[in-house]
């Protein structure tokens, strides 16, 4: 009997503890990420856009940041740790940045221009004491324009670029500032910094279990009062398996999951969960080989392929979570412009163009396409590509797939169309970040970035396009630069330089308890406005 009573008492205790756990979740937001590990915590994050979203712009700041306050308009650059920046009127390689005064790192040390210089050295100078190969691997390639930098005084930073480059502010938005004082206090050891990092961001890392969880708490002393988090705590949990993520949300173990699988969405909405989504600078395309002999060199074939796809029909496959492509950039982009070629579904026009080019359903054009069965940002690559294969076959383009695993796909993306490893494939289905002029436009078609030097996979090189890229880099007035960017995108679309298919909408499933989230049209998000009901 005594044992029975003890058993009952243990059960009651367990039940009360379970309830207590639920109660403790007030003010705590638990997020299931798609990443398989906690992103690098020392400053420059890994794990792509998700790493920057959860461990970058939360714990750290950059000199120039993205405006994440609006869901209705595309994000633009705003002052971060730098309050203003300008290029020298005489010497267009010389930039001056005025830094924000009164900003402190989480460890209490002040942020000054010397700290900014120290952080650039951390990434770019491999002989510096603070050089960190892991952060350098992530950050160095983000600031290709930077030649040198120096602290003019405590709150003035000077940056010299290799050539005049008006995209520098976009590049600087990648670079996150870690605390020198914290690194010194932790024996100048980045491994120790990883456990107790210090940035200037609105969140502080309180606890960290590699591969399992990270706990962030508000930085009450944050310099921007409007971005001091309202939550008590935000817990980040790596949940790479989509079913495990969905189950964790449905069973109440997390309050928010990134990228719910389309087939789980009815179960979520049926149980009161909400799906938040918005257009953002993401692209799902086929890059086309422009090597000699490639059938994609014929503009009629490129336009025909673009006209053969019923993008609205693909929406059913994705539970409606997509923005059908109207161009290379999403239609809501500030750089979309007014292209004359309308990207739409018109199979008859596609057949007519192919007939002009000498192909038909009876005499199809045969092409080989590189695709992956999965991968970060690839959405549902197998069914989506099969849908394309079927659509293209209906107008006279017969596609043979070469399917490779995601890690190898990245290598083949870097290798380019001419590499023997792609085995003659004439296109590659790859998805990516298109948030700034470089990642959005320049890197895909610039002559100096032909693979393997860069990610111009198809070896495209056109003097007119190159002149536009040069103009983007030498137009220092932001509004004028936007005009050049629009003109560039119009050429992208009018020349049908890619098979433009769709854009992801960054879906995330939220518990009804989550309030106040505004999903910006950006890869990064602001978590400071969120509360838990």
């Amino acid at each position: 009997m005594r044992h029975f009573k003890e058993g009952i008492a243990a059960l009651l205790l367990a039940a009360s503890l379970t309830c207590a756990q639920g109660a403790a979740a007030q003010g705590t937001l638990r997020i299931g990420m798609t990443a398989s590990d906690i992103p690098l915590t020392t400053g420059q994050t890994d794990q792509g856009g998700e790493g920057m979203r959860f461990m970058g712009y939360t714990v750290y700041d950059s000199l120039i940041e993205w405006d994440l306050t609006s869901a209705d308009k595309p994000s633009v650059l705003i002052p971060g740790l730098a309050t203003e920046w300008s290029v020298d009127a005489e010497d267009k390689t010389k930039w001056t940045l005025k830094l924000r005064e009164g900003v402190t790192f989480h460890d209490g040390s002040p942020f000054t221009a010397a700290d900014a210089v120290w952080n650039f050295d951390k990434l770019l100078v491999d002989t510096s004491e603070q050089y960190d190969s892991r952060q350098a691997a992530q950050g160095k390639s983000r600031i290709p324009a930077v030649a040198s930098y120096s602290a003019v005084d405590d709150y003035t930073l000077e940056i010299i670029t290799k050539t005049p480059d008006a995209t520098l502010p976009y590049q600087l938005a990648w670079i996150l500032m870690s605390s020198k004082a914290n690194w010194e206090a932790l024996d100048k050891d980045w491994e120790k910094v990883a456990n107790t990092p210090s940035g200037t961001g609105p969140w502080k890392l309180e606890a960290f279990v590699p591969r399992e969880r990270a706990e962030l708490v508000p930085n009450e002393a944050y310099w921007d009062e409007t971005r001091i988090p309202k939550l008590d705590k935000m817990v980040l949990i790596p949940l790479p398996e989509p079913n495990a993520r969905a189950a964790a949300l449905l069973s109440g173990q997390v309050d928010w999951i990134e990228a719910p699988a389309p087939d789980t969405i009815p179960a979520m909405t049926g149980n009161g969960f909400t799906i938040s989504s918005n257009a953002y600078p993401h692209n799902w395309t086929w890059h086309l080989s422009r090597l000699e002999g490639s059938p994609w060199n014929d503009i009629r074939v490129r336009k025909a392929a673009n006209l053969a796809i019923d993008r609205e029909g693909m929406g059913a496959l994705l539970g409606g979570l997509m923005v059908p492509a109207k161009g290379f950039l999403p239609p809501s982009s500030q750089w979309f412009g007014e292209p004359t070629f309308e990207v739409k579904y018109d199979p008859e026009a596609a057949k007519a163009l192919l007939a002009e080019a000498g192909y038909s359903v009876e005499n199809p054009l045969k092409v080989k396409a590189l695709i992956s069965p999965s991968g970060s940002g690839q959405m549902l690559p197998l069914p989506m590509n099969e849908y394309l294969q079927q659509s293209l076959a209906e107008v006279g383009i017969e596609v043979e797939f070469m399917v490779v695993e995601w890690n190898q796909m990245i290598n083949l993306w870097r290798a380019g169309a001419a590499d023997a490893a792609v085995e003659g494939a004439m296109s590659i289905n790859f998805t990516y970040f298109i948030q700034d002029p470089f990642t959005g436009l320049i890197r895909h078609l610039s002559c100096d970035l032909i693979a393997p030097n860069g990610t111009n996979w198809g070896h495209y090189c056109d003097p007119e396009m190159q002149a536009l890229f040069d103009e983007i880099k030498t137009t220092f007035d932001p509004e004028e630069q936007d005009k050049v960017l629009r003109k560039t995108h119009e050429k992208y679309v009018d020349d049908a330089l890619f098979l433009m298919v769709t854009h992801d909408v960054a879906p995330r499933a939220l518990s009804p308890k989550v309030k106040g989230f505004v999903q910006a049209q950006n890869w990064y998000q602001n978590f400071s406005s969120i509360t838990m009901e």
Partner: protein, 317 residues
């Protein structure tokens, strides 16, 4: 016995060497590049080359292997390329979590498997035997990752009784033997136990059925021994073989739980291994495979020694 034990331990060295060579070569053969996990796709060829040199990936394969094995001999398993953390810490932490899961699954599976197997063997060719056989075949045949998903839907999503993922409210580092943590273990351990229940039950059934028809059982009854005492003799005779099967199963439970750990987001060696494979994290992959292989060899050794201790007929020379 001691010299036998010592010899077996020494024999583990060439096995470990063989395993290390095979796993090193296998991960090199697979297409892919560990740098993709740590560098943006826009990294230039020069930047990639510089990073390749930092991680020693630019050296010829035999040199890379020699450096790795040399460091290993000094107790240094290197650092993970993807995370920068020491491999030893990553692997032993994960193996500890997998051991917890495997041991829990074994605690569930072995008694149930033995009981069912003995029951079926004793009542051979009866309805009970067929029922146990059906259960064991189902246990072995049902894909356990599918079963895991079904259990999650029933007990986590619909009933809300048990958590669907993780190793406790504060992660595996805060593990303690209270209900808040144990409840995280229940579903993965039960799912993982299903296959060994089937295998152990089938083995014990065959052993018990065979032993019960042997002459010595008839002789024991003829001497007037009670049914319970006879069964005790049968159990002792079956124990050595059953133990060997269970030892192997424990090894499989530890190394073969990749899918279960993925379904339940359990931070064990399987989960670690699958991440290392996708990221081509060579040092982590090599370290994990090596530790798991050595655990398997060590488990075999323990089982052999235990067999000899239980059954004096098994001579070790």
């Amino acid at each position: 016995m001691f010299s036998y034990f010592l010899r077996r331990v020494i024999l583990m060295l060439p096995v470990a060497f063989g395993v290390s060579v095979i796993c090193f070569l296998l991960v090199q053969i697979a297409p892919g590049d560990p740098l993709t996990a740590i560098m943006p796709v826009d990294a230039t060829a020069d930047e990639q080359a510089a990073m390749r040199a930092i991680y020693g990936l630019d050296k010829p394969l035999p040199v890379q292997y020699a450096i790795w094995i040399g460091n290993l001999a000094q107790g240094d398993m290197g650092k993970s390329i993807a995370t920068g953390r020491p491999v030893a810490g990553e692997v032993f932490g994960a193996v500890q979590n997998s051991l917890l899961l495997a041991a829990s699954a074994a605690v569930i599976a072995f008694p149930i498997g033995i009981f069912l197997g003995f029951l079926a063997g004793y009542f051979r060719d009866t309805l009970l035997d067929r029922a146990v056989t059906a259960i064991s075949i189902a246990g072995v045949s049902v894909p356990n990752y599918w079963l895991g998903i079904v259990l999650v839907i029933i007990f986590s999503v619909n009933l809300g009784w048990l958590p669907s993922m993780g190793a406790g409210p504060g992660g595996s580092q805060d593990w303690s033997w209270d209900w808040l943590h144990i409840r995280h273990l229940v579903l993965p351990a039960v799912t993982l136990a299903v296959v060994p229940i089937g295998i152990v039950a089938r083995t014990v059934r065959a052993l018990a059925g065979d032993l019960l028809t042997q002459d010595f059982v008839l002789a024991l009854y003829a001497k007037g021994m009670s049914r319970g005492d006879v069964l005790r003799h049968v159990a002792r005779n079956a124990a050595a073989t059953a133990l060997s099967v269970m030892g192997l199963q424990l090894g499989y439970l530890l190394g073969g739980s990749i899918l279960i750990e993925t379904v339940f987001n359990w931070p064990g060696s399987g989960f670690l291994l699958s991440n290392a494979i996708f990221q081509r994290d060579l040092p982590l992959l090599q370290g994990t495979i090596l530790v798991l292989a050595l655990f398997f060899v060590g488990m075999n050794l323990i089982v052999d020694v235990a067999q000899a201790a239980i059954d004096p007929r098994i001579k070790r020379s």
